[in-house]
């Protein structure tokens, strides 16, 4: 039996800033995981990844990352994606800083 497809989001790094970004359902790039489009169908996920890869002047290194559906939207299932979502733990210099500036 083929393995069940686990939910994913398309993520990458912004070309100019290097920041972690996520693809949204309306073809935008957001810096917040909760805005990301959650992909539950494998064929659709591959199409969305191709869509991202066709934007080399916007981003670097697109890939599909595992998520789980939470009450506030997608949540990381692995600690690496959790750190990418939040920023480093020694300073509030990543996303945490951006958050507190809002």
């Amino acid at each position: 039996m083929p393995r069940a497809f686990t939910p994913k989001v398309v993520t990458a790094s912004d070309l100019l800033e290097g920041d972690v970004i996520y693809l949204t359902a309306d073809d935008q790039w957001s810096r917040h995981l909760q805005d990301a489009e959650v992909l539950t169908d494998e064929a659709h996920a591959q199409l969305r990844l191709l869509h991202a890869e066709r934007q080399p002047d916007r981003l670097v290194g697109a890939y599909l990352a595992d998520v789980a559906q939470g009450p506030e939207g997608p949540e990381p299932t692995h600690f690496r994606e959790d750190f990418r979502r939040t920023g480093p733990s020694n300073y509030a210099h990543g996303k945490q800083e951006a958050e507190s500036n809002v």
């Binding site: 790094s13 070309l15 100019l16 800033e17 290097g18 920041d19 972690v20 080399p56 002047d57 670097v60 290194g61 299932t77 692995h78 600690f79 690496r80 750190f83 990418r84 920023g87 480093p88 733990s89 020694n90 300073y91 210099h93 990543g94 996303k95």
Partner: protein, 554 residues
């Protein structure tokens, strides 16, 4: 210190202009990422977990005050106000924007600094003893040779596409403060019958297959340095494997072919290479050596030092841990700790960089060093200036008295920054330092080196830590493996794995159990952790680490 020539300045300017055009073409969409990546790596620019990272070379760890101030400018203007000093005597900036990097490189070039060959499969920044030119136990200053090697290896056409990166370290003293036994080539200056030369080691390295270098030549006459290095690197270039990235380092070449074969091929190549060297390198070396002439030493009373040492325990504690013996009468080598308890090992703020630059100018003949242990050194300070220096350091949060102690931890960036990491390193270092500071045991424990890496690449040198910690990913959870008994000095040894790893919650108590076991097991407080370990071996520490298994086995 070495002063850059017109040629050097023109070279950097041209190189930076080239890269600026490449960045522009990338941003305009005329270069794909696949085309651009090798170009950016040639200029020290990585893409990490949260941002770009720019790695700047600090050749053999030596800086003047103007250069240190410029590093502060970069931190402030194009980063988030700090920089991270590494075990390879580099500084890494964690937050530059792609568009700004050409400006950063131009700013570095203004003071003769650059990011060339800080990445890629070439000869990397040559590292050296951070006490070079000052240490009491030194045969000769290794930096002129390091500078000669730097000039020879930079853009050397034959060595731009080696099988893998290539690291050379050099020391001028018998005590190894440059980890030469864990480098692709390690050089130690020695004297034989009044002639100066090198003991040459080859094939050391850490990473996934840690190895201690082997002696390929007991005595290499000084004049033969460059042709012999060329012979080694060219032998590796031909013989080294390229079929498997993990087997491409020279340590594997030496391991698989044997040191005898590598030596024979090197000696053969050396005969040819030597014939091609006209002697210009020796003229150049003399020229470089003149520029590294020691500063004029001053003779003055050290009464102020002595009386403060007697009367102020805080000063005394700092002097006892952070000073090292200088070759000149009345002088000391000062290590400035970048390991304040609970802070990120190796980080300095722009403000701290400026303070250190000012102090070097005022009290230290305008010289600073970056140590592979992620601290900053003022190599030449007269003892009469130490009271004032200490007071100024204290004000800047730079007077932590912990050099060589349990909180003087080397930690790689780990998963807080590094895209290759499998777990975090920095929070573990922060917690260990904080815990033992709270226990007030640090000075009682004495010399103890803890080194932490966030993956098997071993940037944090965990294999050669007395206590090494390696962060791993076990089924999606951070897990930490302990090695014991490693040593990065002249008695180099690779640490032994103690057993199964620990979760992030368990690792600090586990380290505490090891250290308390040592306090219990040592003969006296004159016996260091490493000496105790060498006397009694792994077993007693293993029982301390895994009490349940020890009980079950009884």
């Amino acid at each position: 210190m070495y002063n850059y020539t017109e040629f050097d300045h023109a070279f950097l300017a041209e190189r930076n202009a080239q890269f600026r055009a490449q960045v522009e073409r990338r941003i305009a969409g005329q270069l794909t990422e696949d085309e651009f990546k090798p170009l950016r790596l040639m200029n020290g620019l990585y893409l990490q977990l949260h941002a770009y990272m720019l790695r700047v070379a600090i050749p053999y760890g030596t800086l003047n005050s103007a250069q240190m101030r410029q590093l502060a400018v970069l931190a402030e203007k194009w980063d988030k106000g700090y920089g991270h000093f590494t075990t390879r005597q580099n500084i890494q900036y964690n937050w530059p924007k792609l568009r700004d990097v050409p400006d950063m490189l131009d700013a570095l070039a203004e003071v003769g600094l650059h990011a060339i060959q800080t990445s890629g499969n070439t000869i990397r920044n040559v590292t050296a003893d951070h006490f070079a030119g000052a240490a009491a136990d030194e045969v000769a200053d290794p930096r002129p040779y390091a500078e000669l090697i730097r000039q020879w290896s930079t853009d050397h056409p034959e060595f731009q596409f080696l099988g893998r990166k290539f690291k050379i370290a050099i020391t001028g003293a018998a005590a190894d403060r440059a980890v030469i036994r864990a480098h692709d080539i390690g050089l130690r200056i020695v004297e034989q019958d009044g002639a100066r030369g090198f003991e040459v080691l080859v094939g050391g390295g850490l990473g996934r297959t840690p190895m201690i270098g082997k002696v390929v030549r007991d005595f290499l006459p000084e004049v033969d340095l460059l042709p012999y290095l060329e012979a080694i690197v060219s032998t590796y270039n031909l013989l080294g494997r390229r079929d498997n990235k993990y087997k491409a380092r020279i340590k594997i070449t030496v391991h698989e072919n044997g040191i005898e074969k590598v030596r024979a091929l090197t000696e053969e190549a050396f005969v040819q290479r030597r014939a091609q060297f006209s002697g210009v390198d020796q003229t150049l070396l003399r020229d470089i050596q003149e520029q590294f002439a020691p500063p004029p030493w001053r003779a003055s009373s050290q009464d102020a030092f002595d009386s403060l040492y007697e009367s102020d325990p805080v000063f005394r504690s700092w002097a006892d841990t952070n000073l090292a013996a200088h070759r000149a009468e009345g002088y000391a080598i000062v290590s400035i700790s970048l390991k304040a308890h609970g802070k990120t090992p190796g980080d300095a703020t722009a403000e701290q960089m400026r303070v250190m630059a000012d102090l070097a100018e005022r009290y230290g003949h305008n010289e600073l060093r970056i140590s592979h242990e992620q601290n900053v050194i003022l190599p030449h300070v007269h003892k009469s200036d130490l009271p004032a220096l200490h007071a100024a350091l204290k004000e800047a949060g730079l007077a932590t008295a912990n050099i060589g102690l349990i909180s003087d931890i080397i930690a790689c960036p780990g998963m807080d920054y590094c895209a290759l990491a499998t777990a975090r390193s920095i929070p573990i270092a922060q917690e260990i330092a904080t815990r033992f500071n709270a226990l007030k045991l640090e000075h009682d424990i004495g010399p103890l080196k803890i080194k932490i890496s966030g993956c098997i690449n071993a940037c944090g040198h965990h294999h050669v830590g007395h206590i090494g910690i390696l962060g791993l990913d076990r089924a999606g959870v951070e897990n930490y493996q302990i090695t014991l008994g490693g040593d990065g000095t002249e008695d180099a040894a690779i640490g032994e794995r103690a057993g199964p790893g620990f979760s992030a919650d368990e690792i600090i108590p586990a380290i505490e159990r090891v250290v308390l076991a040592y306090l219990d097991l040592r003969h006296s407080n004159a016996e260091t952790f490493l000496q105790t370990y060498r006397r009694i071996g792994l077993a007693p520490f293993k029982s301390a680490l895994y009490p349940e298994t020890a009980v079950a086995a009884e």
